[in-house]
Symmetry: C2
Subunit: 139 residues, 2 copies
């Protein structure tokens, strides 16, 4: 038979929870024409100095592969939400900058997402949310 392992259940429970969360977030964000992944990109760019990051910094910030970032950025460039820039010091890196309209879209989407996140977390008191954040930060 099988020995119960609480860590296993915890991990599986979490995976289920967050996959569902992402689906719900995607739905909410779709009114802005962006996906959850795209929102993550915009979020990281927005909080970066000068709203500018290299593609690999972006990749590790959002937990994607380099090629994933390349492909995610293509539609965003066409929508003119981000711009491609060169790095004078190193011709290999191509910087991504959040455009003015990108900032606008981000801020709109942030409001939607913030509302969603608050609602999602509403079963917890803000003290419990702090505890949760602290526990997750150790992993």
């Amino acid at each position: 038979m099988d020995i119960q392992n609480p860590a296993v259940d915890l991990v599986l429970q979490s995976a289920l929870l967050w996959s569902g969360m992402i689906k719900k977030a995607d739905l909410q964000l779709s009114v802005h024409g962006i996906s959850f992944s795209e929102f993550c990109i915009l979020h990281r760019l927005f909080q970066a100095p000068q709203h500018r990051l290299s593609r690999i910094e972006l990749a590790s910030a959002v937990g994607l592969s380099a090629s994933g970032v390349t492909r995610l950025l293509q539609p965003l460039e066409k929508m003119l939400l981000v711009e491609k820039e060169q790095n004078a010091r190193d011709a290999r890196v191509s910087l991504v900058k959040l455009s003015d309209s990108g900032q606008q879209i981000y801020q709109d989407a942030h409001q939607t997402f913030g509302f969603f996140a608050n609602q999602f977390m509403s079963p917890l008191t803000s003290r419990q949310q702090d505890t949760l954040a602290e526990l997750l930060a150790r992993l």
Copy 2:
């Protein structure tokens, strides 16, 4: 500018954490020839009464769509880890049963996964893990 919303950061932090966790788990489980999703399937089947579930029960248990389950099960059937059975009461449902060799594979994989899960959770005391589980259960 932008008002900091702690719930937003908490949600994004979590999404990043769990996407990374799934990648690591996939890597560990690959020695058994199965993916994380497949392990979830086997896990749910194993703990089901008679190791038997319908496909939609399975789908909701692992957070996938019906078609996702259909496709995930195809290789598992070919590997003879699961078997297709009919429900006498309702000819629409096709039950999935964990085979004997499926149980064997599952138990091997469970050991690997249990080790991984413990390691993953090891930055937290078991008391903290309980707290985490309790907080997540409310979401």
